[in-house]
């Protein structure tokens, strides 16, 4: 009983960490621009696929991982410069379509370059499972959890203690006011795309040894990250992390206790229920309309 529960919990938190990182990515971009970046999932895929590509081409694991984070971040910057900045202030539907277009381009390019196969990465520190109260925990899960925790702490420090972080927060509260006090809001937007691409890629790299990856792996991962972000109240950093983890855990529990073939439906059933009963997410504040 307990062992089974723990098993589901472990796998839920592990995959939930990836959702949490993706949800943070959604939140960062949403806060600086009110854009929902539907290409977020492709950054997760890019991270995993690039890590696979570089390790296979003989670069050591550490260098491969760094490249697999830096390159998606650059892709994020290019995307912002080319596709988002020229249409600043457009309708949400327009922006959504642009990011969907970008995601198709990225997915298509990776498919042409690396093919339709499914790839794996070796686990970072062996495959020897650890026994916890009858449940098995893979060392890679510890990597996922540990790195996610460190990243969340770094982000907290960044937003609470550094000038740049505070500038980003100020922009998310009130763009015009932020510009008036001299904050370069275009720079903030630029940075938020790089950061969220890097976060997504990192999540993708960490999870690849466990769930494998392929050119189309980003769609579902990204959508579930979005569910996590909305669950946490879209715009709240802490909410995104909790929301992402919650999506992962509920999905794993649902798959374990209810039906594994409806695993992918769980997050979406959950989000519909939450939106019906708490329309601004679990952690969202009460919104007021500006007329």
């Amino acid at each position: 009983m307990l062992a089974e529960f723990l098993q589901f919990l472990f796998s839920g938190i592990t995959v939930g960490s990836t959702y949490a990182l993706a949800a943070l990515g959604f939140t960062l971009i949403y806060n600086s621009s009110h854009v929902i970046n539907f290409a977020q999932g492709e950054f997760i895929m890019l991270g995993g696929m690039l890590a696979v590509y570089f390790t296979h081409s003989g670069l050591g694991l550490p260098l491969s991982l760094v490249l697999a984070i830096v390159l998606p971040a650059i892709v994020g910057l290019v995307m912002e410069k080319v596709a988002i900045e020229p249409v600043k202030g457009a309708e949400p539907v327009t922006l959504i379509i642009i990011t969907i277009g970008a995601s198709l381009v990225l997915r298509g390019l990776v498919q042409i370059w690396l093919g339709k196969g499914t790839f794996s990465l070796p686990a970072f520190s062996g495959e020897q499972p650890i026994n916890v109260l009858g449940a098995t925990l893979m060392p890679q899960s510890l990597w996922v959890l540990g790195v996610t925790a460190v990243v969340v702490l770094c982000l907290w420090y960044f937003f609470a203690r550094t000038l740049m972080g505070k500038a980003m927060l100020a922009t998310s509260f009130n763009r015009v006011a932020a510009e008036l006090v001299g904050i370069n809001t275009d720079g903030v937007l630029f940075l938020s795309f790089a950061m969220s691409a890097a976060l997504g890629a990192l999540g993708g790299i960490l999870i690849t040894p466990i769930t494998l990856t392929s050119y189309d792996a980003g769609i579902m991962l990204g959508l579930k990250g979005f569910v996590g972000a909305v669950l946490g109240g879209l715009g709240s950093g802490l909410g995104a992390v909790v929301g992402g983890l919650l999506v992962g855990v509920l999905e794993a529990m649902g798959a374990g206790y209810i039906s594994s073939s409806y695993k992918d439906a769980m997050p979406f059933v959950l989000i519909l229920l939450i939106l019906f009963f708490r329309p601004s997410g679990l952690f969202g504040g009460k919104a007021t309309d500006r007329v």
Partner: protein
């Protein structure tokens, strides 16, 4: 609205009448049918997105309901195909109505999320309930029959779909010029302001959502009956995105934009077939470029540039 709202309809009707004479083979007839089917769905979706300002990222789910009603009800329960079409439309409309009340309290991205979730759930149900739906492989659809007369082949379906398209355009024009349509546009402009002048916001949104869901379901049935086979791809997320893209590229809130968007994006994959493997990339690039350079969509942009006649 233009001063001659019916000029475009007359033109489209004329084109639809003459088209079978010039189409060289059944490949093109098939393409024309699929364009017209998409055009009707997009008209309904555009009422929702363009006039009521509400985005649905799960519209393919409603198409799936209609398509699978037409496939499963006659196959498993012996229903008459026509009854199955009606049942599908009612089910889609009822689902939309039940969901609309809580969903429309939400705004912007939350609404996008809710409809997206709905679409994905419908798709997963269709993939998993293999006993009823044939699962990922899909299932055959019994043809539409009246007594001993069976509607099959592309010519009869061409005329059915062509008349449905003309009827939908006509109905949309009537609707938009009616008090109902004015209320919708007011809603898009400012929800609070329209509330203040006495528009029952929730009721209007609900009506449009239900209507567009029923449009989608009926055309889902038509697709299923015409093709004779359904697969879950009909109801997947990508199809929903394609439909929204047709609305946006043609022009939000433009009737003829809906038709043009549907025609162009249905033809696009055929045109891209020559690019071998680059289809997705080119499709994505076209989406981005047209949104960056023509955010209002083709028809409104062209109308603004050429002539103030519009």
């Amino acid at each position: 609205m233009s001063k001659h709202p019916y000029r475009g309809l007359t033109l489209i009707a004329a084109v639809l009448l003459l088209l079978p004479l010039v189409l060289p083979n059944s490949f093109y007839v098939d393409l024309a049918i699929r364009m017209a089917i998409n055009a009707v769905i997009v008209l309904g979706l555009n009422l929702l997105i363009g006039f009521a300002g509400q985005i649905s990222l799960g519209h393919a789910g409603f198409i799936g309901i209609g398509a699978y009603a037409s496939a499963a009800l006659p196959t498993h329960f012996g229903w008459h195909p026509l009854l199955a079409v009606v049942a599908g439309a009612i089910a889609a409309g009822a689902l939309a109505a039940v969901l609309a009340r809580p969903i429309f309290r939400l705004k912007g991205h939350y609404l996008a999320m809710a409809t997206l979730g709905l679409g994905i759930i419908i798709n997963i149900v269709v993939r998993n309930e293999a006993a009823l739906t044939g699962g990922p492989d899909g299932m055959a659809v019994p043809p539409m029959v009246f007594g001993s007369f069976e509607i099959s082949g592309d010519k009869p379906w061409y005329w059915i779909v062509a008349s449905l398209l003309c009827f939908s355009i006509w109905a949309s024009i009537i609707l938009i010029d009616s008090p109902f349509g004015r209320a919708l546009r007011a809603l898009h402009g400012s929800e609070v302001a329209s509330k203040v002048v006495g528009v029952n916001v929730l009721r209007y949104k609900l009506t449009v959502f239900v209507m567009s869901a029923m449009f989608a379901s009926i055309m889902g049935s038509v697709t299923a009956l015409y093709v004779g086979f359904v697969t879950p791809n009909l109801a997947d997320f990508f199809h929903s995105i394609e439909l929204v893209t047709m609305v946006v590229i043609g022009g939000m809130g433009s009737i003829y934009g809906s038709v043009l968007g549907a025609v162009l994006l249905t033809a696009l994959p055929q045109a891209l077939a020559t690019f071998e493997g680059w289809e997705t990339v080119v499709f994505g690039a076209i989406l981005m470029l047209s949104m960056i350079f023509m955010p209002k969509g083709l028809v409104p942009t062209l109308a603004a540039r050429f002539g103030k006649g519009e």
